[in-house]
Symmetry: none
Amino acid sequence: MIRRFRGESLHKVDAKGRVSVPAAFRRVLEEGDPDFSRGSYPNFVIVYGGVRSDCLEGYTISSISKVDKLISKLPRFSKDREMLERFINTQSTYMQLDETGRIVLSHRLKEKVGIGDEAIFAGMGEKFQIWEPKNYQNELNALDSSFKKLSEDENPFLKLDQLQD
Amino acid sequence: MIRRFRGESLHKVDAKGRVSVPAAFRRVLEEGDPDFSRGSYPNFVIVYGGVRSDCLEGYTISSISKVDKLISKLPRFSKDREMLERFINTQSTYMQLDETGRIVLSHRLKEKVGIGDEAIFAGMGEKFQIWEPKNYQNELNALDSSFKKLSEDENPFLKLDQLQD
DNA sequence: TAGATTTCCATGATATCCCATAAGATAGCA
DNA sequence: TGCTATCTTATGGGATATCATGGAAATCTA
């Protein structure tokens, strides 16, 4: 089984910016880091730019490579490619879990998404997100209400079955 | 034969949140976990968000993977994909049966659907549901009365055979 | 050398593992 | 057909490991 990021949880951010990454996510990060071996600590990537400017997004090494590969397919020097490279390569950073399964969020990163002394981790399959709790709640509410407004044939759950190959 | 989740049963939830999963369901979970082998204990997924917010829904690994695969076909960063990931990945969690065929429902999960010291398991074919007993009874009653109100050509039993492909 | 960052240790809470038992269910057999 | 032995289930309790988190010491770095 290929493990995916699943679930959501709330964690304290201490004065130094340290946060525990949910234990379940660590397993996914380990599996997703080709250089990981027992006894070491997995590397991964946090993207803070681009589409989602209200949260941070964490990718395993192997899932960010997939994205990188897609970007490489765009014509060199194209506007699109430039933009994606800016958002996904420039505005991102490598991270490493420490011995106790924590990472440290720099002042800059916390500020970027409004994180204070708490953060919510949300699994999103191939990636996960880190949110300031209030913003996260707003996101959920917004999603909920926009879901309720959808007509039957816009419902993504129902569209799923039509994709069936 | 492909086993499906069938039947309903009531189980105690102890102080630690432990509940026995009905023995019949365990067989289905085992068959539905590609990594399962005799001597190990099957993994599966519980979804608590989205459409059904009044009960928990259990999926085998292989049936949730089907869903995951469909979601992965949607464009990364699209609104639809975001919504589905939020409801199906974020608001879900991996589970593993223990040696005695139990799982533990965290405080958060129990609270989400109002479960106290008893829970009802209900088979639903490809998935099963976990309910607080009173809520379950209400659900049954509501279903019953809305069924009675249907006209002949709305009756799903009669529509069934028309779908035949 | 002051402030920031990283490493190392400490602790309470939670989750997991291991063992135990009683009630059913099933099988075997006379 | 009735009786006993065996297995499976549902459930409980205690021991142990893991997790989330905080603080102190060591190391950078500007």
